[in-house]
């Protein structure tokens, strides 16, 4: 733990840590869209800015797309993506920290398992938001349905943070928690920690939305210009709020400075800060250019995207550095032989082979849609 992540660990541990962080980043990119997107939708519905029902889902061809209509249309798919992408880090966390992860799951018991029905309710409420049924309901039902997806997703996010923080406790603390027959864990850093990630998700969502709006305008589909103009402002607000919460979190947790500035994480903290600077510059350029050109320019958008990936990657490693430091050298020494044992298990080359093939087939799916898209007649029959 005395050199840059993951090089201070033996090969097996470094290998699984890297796989975990890389797949976690993928999951976070989807998850942030869902978290911030449901919050935006909830806000828009409560304030009456967003329409509901089928129109918001199937974006009418001649109607300019807004951020809200795109979010309502895409969040269910992105939630599916978040769950799918979440399977891989869930697998690797069980290799890396099996006892810690399982113990936290077991200690939180019903409280932890409740994320599953909540997730199902949240998932279905997203589809209800897109239905015509909702347009005929009272304002109260509409508002409640609009809030429901966000509340469910936020609950799941909170639960993961709670689970994670409990998992890095010592066995003595676990036994005390168990003896008290508690199922809810709280420590003060949950709130600022969640705030950093939650507010940080706004910028991620804005990058995704920018690409979606840009795609439409490049393909001559109508886009609401106000929606485009609003995105840089919202993204900058999210970034600055996240940075402010990050500073509060840093000041509130006494050991955080030593971890972030320590040899394992300092380069990644630098990467995250550079990423944020790149995002701020990109968004400022877009703030100026969108009203002039009425489109989202490619270069600043590429800059914000690269900055976003760098920030998420850097912060994910910093998060992992906090966990590794909290567990302590003795525990890591115990885990290292287990990782070495796991690495001896056969099947890696089979995984790699099918990973390459399936990434190719996934890319082919995108190409198939792009290359074979045709207008439909009334019966849905494609005509070239």
């Amino acid at each position: 733990m005395d050199t840059v992540f993951p090089f201070g660990f033996p090969l097996a541990t470094a290998f699984y840590l890297t796989l975990f962080v890389v797949t976690l980043v993928l999951h976070v990119l989807f998850m942030n869209y869902v978290l911030a997107g449901t919050a935006w939708l909830a806000w828009s519905i409560v304030t009456g800015c967003a329409g509901l029902g089928a129109k918001s889902a199937e974006i009418a061809k001649n109607e300019p797309a807004t951020s809200e209509s795109i979010l309502a249309d895409w969040i269910p798919t992105m939630l599916s993506g978040a769950i799918t992408a979440g399977v891989a880090p869930l697998l690797f966390v069980q290799i890396l920290y099996q006892r810690e992860f399982y113990t936290a799951n077991l200690l939180l018991f019903n409280r932890w398992m409740s994320i599953l029905p909540v997730l199902i309710v949240g998932f279905y409420s997203l589809y209800v938001l897109r239905s015509n049924w909702l347009t005929r309901r009272s304002v109260f039902v509409k508002t409640l349905t609009g809030l429901l997806p966000f509340l469910c997703v936020a609950f799941v996010a909170y639960s993961w943070t709670e689970n994670h923080l409990l998992s890095v406790n010592s066995p003595a603390q676990w036994r005390a928690f168990y003896a008290e027959d508690k199922e809810i864990y709280f420590e003060p850093q949950i709130i600022p920690r969640l705030a950093v990630w939650g507010l940080g998700s706004i910028a991620t969502m804005c990058v995704w939305l920018s690409w979606q709006l840009r795609y439409r305008s490049v393909h001559q589909l109508p886009v609401n210009s106000q929606s485009m103009a609003k995105l840089p402002k919202v993204a900058l607000f999210g970034l600055l709020a996240s940075i402010a919460c990050g500073i509060a979190y840093y000041l509130s947790a006494p050991n955080l400075g030593a971890v972030f500035l320590g040899p394992m994480a300092r380069w990644y903290l630098g990467l995250a800060i550079l990423g944020m600077i790149a995002q701020v510059i990109g968004w400022l350029q877009l703030l100026r250019r969108i009203p002039l050109a009425n489109e989202i320019s490619l270069k600043p958008l590429l800059l914000t995207t690269a900055g976003l990936v760098a920030t998420v990657m850097g912060m994910s490693v910093c998060r992992e550095a906090i966990r590794l430091t909290s567990l302590g050298t003795n525990r890591i020494e115990e885990l290292i032989p287990q990782h070495a044992e796991a690495m001896k298990v056969e099947g890696f080359w089979v995984f790699l082979l099918f990973a390459v093939i399936n990434i190719g087939l996934i890319s082919w799916c995108f190409w198939l849609v792009k290359a074979n898209f045709v207008e439909s007649d009334e019966n849905g029959k494609g005509t070239s």
């Binding site: 399977v87 069980q94 290799i95 077991l106 398992m113 599953l116 089979v350």
Partner: protein, 485 residues
């Protein structure tokens, strides 16, 4: 390597196996729907492209929406739920499965990702795609879904028939185990049947279809029920691949498991006969109510089959490796000396003030560690009721020689003192938990009692009853039941 000790939760009157079994049944049914749905949609798309059906395309788009809403949403969440529930029931077992097969699981994840991407691509853009692209996406979806089954099936069947893996620890030896192919093929046919039956329900709910169009669709969808003729043979192959003692559970050795096995066979037979004779051969029409009833029967068959699959592994969760109570087969001998309830990093007893003395507290700990995964107190499979008719000395003997008393039970993994504390705990429970209870460990004759129990333990040894003994005991139980009738 030190043993990881995990906290154990109390599921109240519910047996823990019921929690994972209940969720597992639901998940498997949804997964089968997703896999078989791919086959059905490929077939219907092919019919449409070859002008063999005038309504296949309309049906296909409606059916796919249904598939996404039910299978993608519930299937994805219940899939993750299976992991979390397994952790709740047996963390060491799922830990072994993950450690031993993580690359298999990772490979399955790449197929699952392809399944989700191709599925959503069709869902979102299918209506606007050329026919060949539609068919290609559906084929990709189907291949991905079926391969998800392929990979997971290897891990699930390994639990019951690990074969030489027990010695070699080779992933591929464990993966391509004796149950792999029959289980895979059986599940493939079951998936097609489930998808077709749900398809018949959907046919009845698509608006604006004429009766003749519905009849046409019923005949076309029912084609996927034809492979059900193979089910008896594949089922027999699968049952034949099981170890004899496991098979005996489902064929009379256990009332509950025999009942669920009968439900599985009976429901499958009813669905199969109706499908083949009435729908395919007789070309009869099927309405919404009847098709929904057939789906329920198929769900019953899945429930029965999955219950049996979970249950016949007894006394193991992974055969010849972990017992149902998550104690490794090789740990029993050591635990007979060191004890299970006195480990320094053991989780404390909750609400310890409820127990009348320290011996009962220890007994409650032993019950929690060794029994609570399959037994409850006063609920499902209640151990206090199962031992109600035993005298105290019988309890000492029967518990110390558990694997001989009931060969489908694991050996007792603790000391003579722990056997006695469990016996006292059960006796105290039989007497409705009185406030005052004498501690036999404080009595003069305790030395003699311990020595007697130690003798029972030594006689039984630390190995489980061998498979032949388990088989024989189960066959005897089955015969007794038949004679009793």
């Amino acid at each position: 390597m030190p043993i990881d000790i995990y906290p154990i939760n109390d599921f109240g009157p519910l047996m823990k196996g019921l929690a994972i079994g209940g969720l597992g049944i639901f998940y498997v049914f949804l997964a089968q729907f997703a896999i078989g749905g791919g086959f059905l949609m490929c077939y219907l798309q092919w019919l449409d492209m070859n002008n063999k059906s005038t309504v296949a395309r309309a049906f296909l788009d409606s059916y796919f929406k249904f598939l996404v809403l039910v299978s993608f949403v519930m299937g994805a969440v219940t899939g993750v739920a299976m992991w979390f529930t397994s952790i709740q029931v047996s963390p060491r077992t799922i830990g072994l499965m993950v450690s031993s097969f993580h690359w298999v699981w990772a490979t399955e994840w790449t197929f699952f990702s392809l399944e989700v991407v191709s599925g959503y691509a069709f869902y979102r853009y299918g209506k606007h795609l050329k026919n060949r692209a539609r068919l290609t996406l559906l084929i990709l979806y189907t291949i991905a879904a079926w391969f998800s089954l392929f990979w997971i099936n290897g891990i699930l069947s390994w639990q019951l028939t690990p074969g030489e893996w027990v010695h070699s620890k080779s992933v591929w030896v464990g993966f391509f185990n004796a149950g792999f192919w029959p289980s895979l093929l059986y599940r493939t046919v079951a998936s097609m049947s489930v998808a077709a039956l749900i398809g018949l329900v959907v046919v009845n709910f698509i608006p604006k279809l004429q009766r003749s169009e519905r009849e046409q669709l019923v005949r076309q969808v029912a084609v996927l029920l034809i492979p059900m003729v193979l089910m008896p043979f594949l089922g027999a192959w699968y049952i034949g691949s099981m170890p004899a003692d496991s098979r005996a559970w489902a064929t009379g050795g256990s009332v509950a498991m025999t009942m669920f096995f009968t439900i599985a066979v009976g429901s499958s037979a009813l669905v199969g006969i109706y499908s083949l004779v009435a729908l395919w051969y007789g070309r009869l029409y099927i309405n919404g109510a009847t098709s929904a009833l057939l789906v329920l029967l198929a769900f019953g068959a899945t429930a029965g089959g999955e219950f049996v699959r979970e249950g016949v592994r007894k006394p193991f969760t992974v055969r010849e490796t972990f017992y149902s109570n998550s104690i490794h087969k090789n740990e029993v001998a050591e635990l007979r000396i060191s004890g299970l309830s006195t480990r320094p990093d053991e989780y404390p007893l909750r609400h310890s003030d409820r127990y009348a003395n320290d011996q009962l507290k220890q007994g409650a700990l032993v019950f929690r560690e060794q029994c609570s995964v399959c037994h409850t107190l006063g609920g499902v499979n209640a151990v206090d009721e199962l031992t109600q008719s035993w005298s105290v000395e019988q309890m000492r003997l029967n518990i110390a020689q558990l694997q001989q008393t009931k060969p489908f039970m694991p050996p007792f993994a603790g000391t003579a003192v722990e056997v006695e504390s469990l016996v006292q705990f059960l006796s105290w429970t039989h007497q409705s938990n009185p406030d005052v209870w004498p501690m036999t460990s404080a009595q003069e004759e305790f030395g003699a009692i311990s020595a007697r129990i130690q003798g029972y333990l030594d006689d039984a040894g630390t190995e489980p009853a061998d498979a032949t003994a388990r088989h024989k005991a189960l066959r005897e139980l089955a015969n007794k039941r038949w004679k009793g009738r």
